[in-house]
Subunit: 333 residues, 4 copies
């Protein structure tokens, strides 16, 4: 039985609490939130849990083994650092921290103390993404051509991070988790339409070795909700659409056959074969992530989206912010 | 009755011929194509039309008033120039030409001789785009935030132009036709996966005054076909989806209300109102374009997608090609 | 504060418990279930609630004002009757009972004792259906032509009722709730593919006065999930699609204009106007139903889907079962 | 080279003419239409073809080997009969005729004279339906559970046949072509909302041996266009959606496994496996049907949708009309 304290009961917090409560090997002992309205909501929904204003009680209680940080991004660093300092394992909502320096410090603190530092990149735990990783590793996709993601919706504007830090971070985690290759440079463009607010619509391109390219289109200012990426390879092309109730993942046996290297003319052959929607687990990704986290704690092994993956995403985001200020001038990574 | 000659009976040519033949005020007198197979196809489908290998016959025949050029891009310039030199009005498939220099020359030749130079940017003639222009001009959209377009499909790889010149050109024509604002700079990224072939997957961002931004995602290497753009304004957001059999245009009464200028906190108000799919003409866009072209000839006035619009798109494309080679380094326009 | 006991923590029970717990004016005092696994699940998720095997404790506790029955259909009648006998208000999952005789008895018992008898026809509380009722009552739809519903999915086969009693019942409740007209006769067809199991795929047609007709296509044996109905009127046609994440309701300004009464020839005029997706509340329907139930208790007024509506649906279902056994022979209502 | 005359240049006629003209082994010698506007249209589009008002010229010309009848249903019988009487092969638009008696007479006349009588059930020639037939015959679907089709759109109201004769006829042809089993009885319901006009919205159920059932929902009065059928079997379930630009056919590896015969409880096992969209020819179905018709003429063998298939569909439709008048009372076939 792992005893936990959850800091932050806002947008995502209730989902975290519900999933930890439903797990027979976890016990949520505390929920803390600075906002009295959130505390009232937590008290109604979770009658047996101590609901507090100050997270200090969580840090002080030696029975608490792990702390879940689900608060605004600028507070990730101090809260996670204090939890580590008190010898607690940590689960931090994405993005891990607000700067590369903060993220590096958290990774090294966790390493030093032998504690688990987990970043909540939930997408990596969806049944469809796990199936995609399995297919990629079985070399079903062939050589990779590109990754192209679109993440659009209306709101929720974040206060302290821009839309790339909020939405593109999902794709970066998937890319670092899924593929062994590492990006060489980044170019980003974007715009902030409201004075004093972060960039709400942005585009990010990652350049990789061997002609692989990744592109992410992210906006908080779209009338339609889109959550879709394509991972195109020479043998198969995968489309992941999170808005599909079922069949989130499709594998297209389409592509270009026998391109004549360097030859002139329209002699490329198109392959338009069958489409397969493979079976995958439809379990709630967060339930699976909770299971994986508890298992990692028990086994003392890193999670698949640990602090190192979190740090890699922050490195890209910090460079993308620089490129964006320069209208897309590429930044080496 | 306008007498025409059509040069090129490949991919798009049969559509042009069919629409000109169905118009009671036009007569297709010639079809020329270098490929005997295409000539056989033309002869079967159009028993009453002279089918020739060499376009020379078209230029020489004084009865021909207008020449339609539907051939590979690199031949647009010489064929259109020769047609103008023979005093014919010209309809050229998009893009107008392969370089800014060529496009400028064609525009000045047509001007000098008082001839119509029309570029076949068919999208501008679709009922839904014309309705969108009407709505924009009636100030229904409010202040513009962004234009975001996605044009994906598998093939048809062009031989002599890359995917931006082939697909993004549609969006550039719509932007120049729809909006009075002009872009300041362009950033583009892309990749050519097959040696000796043009870039097949690319991303283009246009920077405009007053925080308006346009982005185009184009690929010939996608397993799914997508033809969609969003034009988001402060009052309404329009989504145009060409793959919808009906309801191609939707107007969302969604957005951000009363953003507190410079104020901190999550105090933006979201507006999630009704969605309207306005009625628009479902006539075939090409039929309407043919009608408009014939009318422009009769009235001796430029078409709405004339050589000047065609030249503007070429200017952007040439700069985008430079930016793409520099991994997105922005280029002023 | 209304104190409740919930009987049955199977498929739908957890949703009921969650919504009652989240309401500040309700307190779930008991959850009962015969299955120890369901009791363990309830105990984990609801630490402060008494979880019991036998519902007797709920009936006996005078503090309990209302009983929620979420059990297999054959047990609705005895449990609801016993709850009423103990002076409790009752919330029963749909369908109200297994026979017309049972449903009539429950309605008369509730009437006699001045207790609320509520049937959980959740669909009637969805924001989109409430908006549709509002539009219908404002005469926006014009004269009604037909109602056409499709409810398909794979499983969950019910043990003690067939697919019409399980799925078509949603439409019947909507029809009785939405429209003042009452059906005159019913015809139904269907088939049971597995020996000893109820009919899993069936079709039901209701005949109404003045050429209005309703049709329901229901199956537990479909590879795709569909939840959609059309309510077509002379002025507007509404389409409700529950599988759409947003825009569940669309209003089409389409139809037939000026049909020449009795005239020959193809002289009907088609009207293909704009399409509107009106704004409606996106609150969880069950949360709204809970709110409405608690309000009805406080005000001592029937809910909008009370025992009488429940009884009307059972009358149709019983006749449909007869028609189905006769390959569609119509049954008067 | 087969010489043809086409009678009727209305809604479907131009497609027939275009496809016959594009075939190198066919020559359209005549087009006849009573309407001068249609003749003008034909003359513009087909400069080399004789366009006449009276079909008599076609019957009289001994060079004409085959006559294509694309006229209102009530004229199918006299025109097809006259064509056969003149020794011509006949292609008739669906439905073959207006009554069983007429259809029987045409079949026997064609038989007597050794002429081909082809009914234009185009759906049977679509690449996706041919692939489905191939899969069915390879026993990929397993035992058949049901066929469930939905054909909805707004207009085109037919003048002389109702919506079942116009739309359900497509499904009947597919059922007779695809499956060896024959229906035992039919039940139909429907309504005519406009005085003097045929039934515009109707539902038809076919009862087959061994618990197979077929259902067709057809309407000319729907705001949305739907063209979809499910053919569910014990091993695979197929969904054919004609509105999908690609992937019209999907094969779901979903169903019920190991149903315990007669056993109680919820012990059915659900199988939710992968989904496959098989590759199939995307050639225009009508082009393929033209090819098949010409080949049948050359080989003197019946087409796959010959007069006998056409007659079978008429038998069902005539009985359905009787059932419809009796509110669904089943009629034996």
């Amino acid at each position: 039985m792992t005893v936990l304290g959850v800091i932050g009961y806002g947008h995502w917090g209730p989902n975290l609490v519900r999933n930890f409560m439903a797990h027979p090997e976890a016990r949520v002992a505390y929920i803390s939130d600075r906002d009295p309205a959130m505390r009232d909501k937590a008290a109604l929904a979770c009658p047996g849990v101590a609901v507090v204003a100050d997270p200090g009680a969580i840090f002080q209680d030696p029975a608490v083994e792990a702390v879940v940080v689900s608060t605004p991004v600028r507070t990730h660093f101090p809260l996670a650092l204090e939890a580590l300092a008190h010898g607690k394992h940590v689960w931090v909502e994405k993005p891990l921290a607000a700067t590369v320096a903060e993220a590096e410090r958290l990774v090294s603190e966790a390493d030093k103390r032998g504690l688990i530092l987990h970043v909540d990149h939930t997408l990596a735990y969806s049944g469809a993404v796990r199936k995609l990783k399995e297919l990629y590793e079985a070399k079903v996709l062939g050589d990779l051509y590109y990754y192209d993601s679109t993440r659009l919706n209306l709101g929720l504007f974040q206060e302290d991070v821009d839309v790339l830090w909020d939405l593109a971070v999902h794709d970066l985690a998937v890319l670092f988790h899924l593929l062994p290759v590492r990006p060489l440079a980044v170019s980003a463009q974007g715009v902030a339409h409201f004075a004093g607010r972060p960039v709400n619509t942005a585009f990010l391109t990652l350049f990789y070795p061997r002609n692989f390219i990744a592109h992410i289109n992210a906006s908080w200012l779209s009338p339609v909700k889109v959550r879709r990426f394509i991972l195109a390879g020479s043998a198969k092309m995968a489309v992941y659409d999170d808005m599909e109730p079922a069949e989130k993942l499709r594998l297209y046996d389409k592509g270009i056959d026998c391109p004549v290297e360097g030859g002139p003319g329209l002699s490329l052959g198109y392959r338009t074969g069958e489409i397969l929607s493979p079976e995958y687990s439809s379990q709630e990704p967060l339930a699976l992530e909770v299971e994986h986290f508890l298992h990692s704690l028990a086994q003392k092994i890193p999670t698949i989206t640990d602090g190192r993956i979190g740090l890699s995403t922050i490195r890209v985001l910090e460079s993308a912010t620089r490129s964006l200020a320069l209208s897309g001038a590429p930044q080496e990574l």
